[in-house]
């Protein structure tokens, strides 16, 4: 079980340069909107043609610019779940699923459709039109249709983009079951780190059309490596930084020098600290920063405190600390604070920082 993708494509000023592989695992393509995630999926499915590169699925070459191989979408056996599901509006639910059944006699097809209707809890909906279904049911029909087609890889394009928030959780649980049962190569495109963290095994971050090396999902959160990956993983505090020796980073936007728990890479240009990893320090010490309290924001389940640092650039580089409401209440509304970050929780990052 493997899917190898290594493609390049120019679209006006935009350049797509993506390379990743799946070994039968669920790979997340994580990136902001417009970074080329959907275009990548379309190239894998054969709907769009890259300018150059290679796509190999389970040893079958789907596309190879050097050998002039470019299989039609019909021959690729790649299932594609579109954002809006792309159900055929003129056909019934059963008709849609039947369109996915590749071959077999009429009776065999009917049986395959019945089996999919049962497997996706769509009994009794076979005669309905797609527009008569809820968003969640439409998604199940689309998945049933794709899996009836017996694809060798599954591409999911923001599966929850078309759904209301309260529906998502139940559907996400179902989708997790479906993906586990499928057991093959899955590429999951999303901009939501939470969704991707729960559903995928590995992740490949896309920044303005360029992919970074694939890593385990946990690594994205413990050591994202680049500024864009850190931002996508939800890191709220990022400063331009300079390497000061093997285990120290001078963070320019905050005007502080932080000790690191591990060696700083030579090309580190930024530092990141998650808002949850800033803690209130009882006294001065290593990695302790005296801060002024600029704003306190009462969030749903926590309190967010915006802090100014002594050497920080005025107003633009506040540190964001998140702590429980009780912990903040116990502080008694101070004007200034000592805060600390453990050396292991400082992340050295590559890539530029845009402060505007």
């Amino acid at each position: 079980m493997s899917l190898e993708v290594d493609i390049r494509k120019r679209l006006g000023a935009f350049r797509l340069d993506v390379s990743f592989a799946s070994d039968g695992d669920v790979v997340a393509l994580l990136g902001a909107s417009g970074c080329g995630k959907s275009m990548t999926l379309k190239c894998v499915a054969g709907i769009e043609t890259p300018d150059s590169g290679r796509i190999v699925l389970n040893g079958r070459v789907l596309y190879d610019s050097e050998k002039h191989i470019n299989l039609s979408p019909q021959k690729r056996r790649v299932g594609y779940l579109f954002q809006q599901y792309a159900l055929f509006p003129n056909m019934t639910v059963a008709g849609n699923i039947a369109a996915g059944v590749r071959n077999g006699s009429r009776a065999e097809k009917r049986e395959a459709v019945e089996a999919q209707l049962r497997a996706f809890r769509l009994e009794g909906k076979g005669d309905k039109r797609p527009r008569e279904l809820s968003g969640g049911e439409q998604q199940r029909v689309a998945l049933a249709r794709i899996l009836a087609n017996r694809p060798e890889a599954l591409l999911l394009d923001e599966p929850f983009a078309a759904l209301d928030g309260y529906l998502k959780w139940q559907l996400e649980l179902e989708l997790a079951d479906t993906l586990r049962a499928f057991g093959g190569n899955v590429v999951y495109v999303s901009h939501s780190r939470d969704e991707v963290y729960r559903l995928c095994d590995t992740v490949c971050v896309l920044t303005e059309g360029r992919s970074s090396p694939k890593c385990r999902m946990r690594e994205l959160f413990s050591s994202p490596g680049t500024v864009s990956a850190a931002l996508l993983s939800g890191c709220k505090n990022i400063s331009r930084a300079e390497r000061l020796g093997a285990r120290a980073l001078r963070c320019e936007d905050w005007g502080v020098t932080l000790r690191m728990g591990c060696d700083v890479p030579e090309d580190a240009g930024a530092a990141g600290i998650r808002a949850h990893y800033l803690t209130i320090a009882p006294q001065d010490g290593e990695n302790v920063i005296p801060c002024g309290v600029e704003r306190v924001i009462d969030d749903v389940f926590s309190t967010v405190v915006m802090l100014s640092t002594p050497g920080g650039r005025a107003g633009r580089s506040l540190l964001r600390m998140e702590l429980s409401k009780e912990a903040w209440a116990a502080q008694g509304n101070p004007r200034s604070l000592l805060i600390r970050v453990a050396p292991d929780d400082v992340m050295a990052l590559r890539g530029g920082v845009g402060h505007d």
Partner: protein
């Protein structure tokens, strides 16, 4: 009352509508895939009959199909067949006149077609022909039907080009519109009026059909879930 013009008009309009159904959707479908410049030029050429006076179209057809011109002369020599001044000559003129109506409505329908439906079909292994006839056409059905009805109505009312290409021979090439003109010219006002009423009745029925078609929800629109 001799009903030949009624029958002849219907038969000419029906055959031309069938012809432009295929020609119109074919042009609309394939033109969309051409490079922008070629598409722009062809679009102008194909839409031209909509704005040209029917007499100009009739003249151009005669220049090509007339017995003393390229194609017309060849047919006359090879098959002893005159392409003009027969009842079916009118099919040439009505087809050219109504082609832009069908072409443009089909194009508009195809342009509003959700591309991902075709893409989904292709990834499922469905052939392009199957996708065209079982997904694209049914989804665009409403626009295409409306285009056909309009084309049919226009073909029924065609006068200028038809009178030049097929002429007016009672019982042979007479249509409703040429008959009205002939009867009016010969001061047979009562008979002309009868045909005017027939024509109005047919047109009203056709437009009613268009309205009914537009009222029925198409699968592409319809209530969202």
């Amino acid at each position: 009352m001799d009903w030949y013009p009624f029958y002849n008009s219907l038969r000419i309009a029906a055959i031309s509508t069938v012809v432009i159904f295929f020609a119109g959707i074919f042009a609309a479908y394939y033109l969309a895939r051409l490079p922008r410049l070629v598409k722009g030029v062809l679009d102008v050429v194909l839409t031209l009959p909509l704005v040209l006076p029917p007499t100009v179209i009739g003249y151009l057809i005669l220049r090509v199909l007339g017995p003393r011109h390229v194609i017309g002369a060849w047919f006359l020599r090879a098959f002893g067949l005159r392409l003009t001044m027969t009842w079916w000559s009118a099919i040439f003129s009505t087809t050219v006149v109504i082609f832009p109506l069908m072409y443009r409505t089909a194009r508009a329908a195809f342009e509003s077609f959700d591309r991902t439906l075709a893409d989904a079909g292709r990834t499922l292994g469905l052939s392009n022909t199957y996708i065209f006839w079982h997904i694209r056409m049914p989804v665009c059905r409403q626009g295409i039907l409306a285009g056909m009805v309009l084309s049919f109505a226009r073909a029924l009312g065609e006068y200028g080009a038809t009178s030049m290409v097929a002429g007016y021979t009672p019982g042979r090439t007479a249509t409703i519109s040429t008959t009205v003109y002939q009867l009016w010219r010969t001061n047979d006002d009562a008979a002309a009026f009868r045909w005017v009423l027939v024509n109005i009745a047919i047109s009203a029925v056709v437009l009613l059909a268009v309205n009914l078609l537009e009222r029925r929800p198409s699968p592409q629109r319809g209530a969202a879930a």
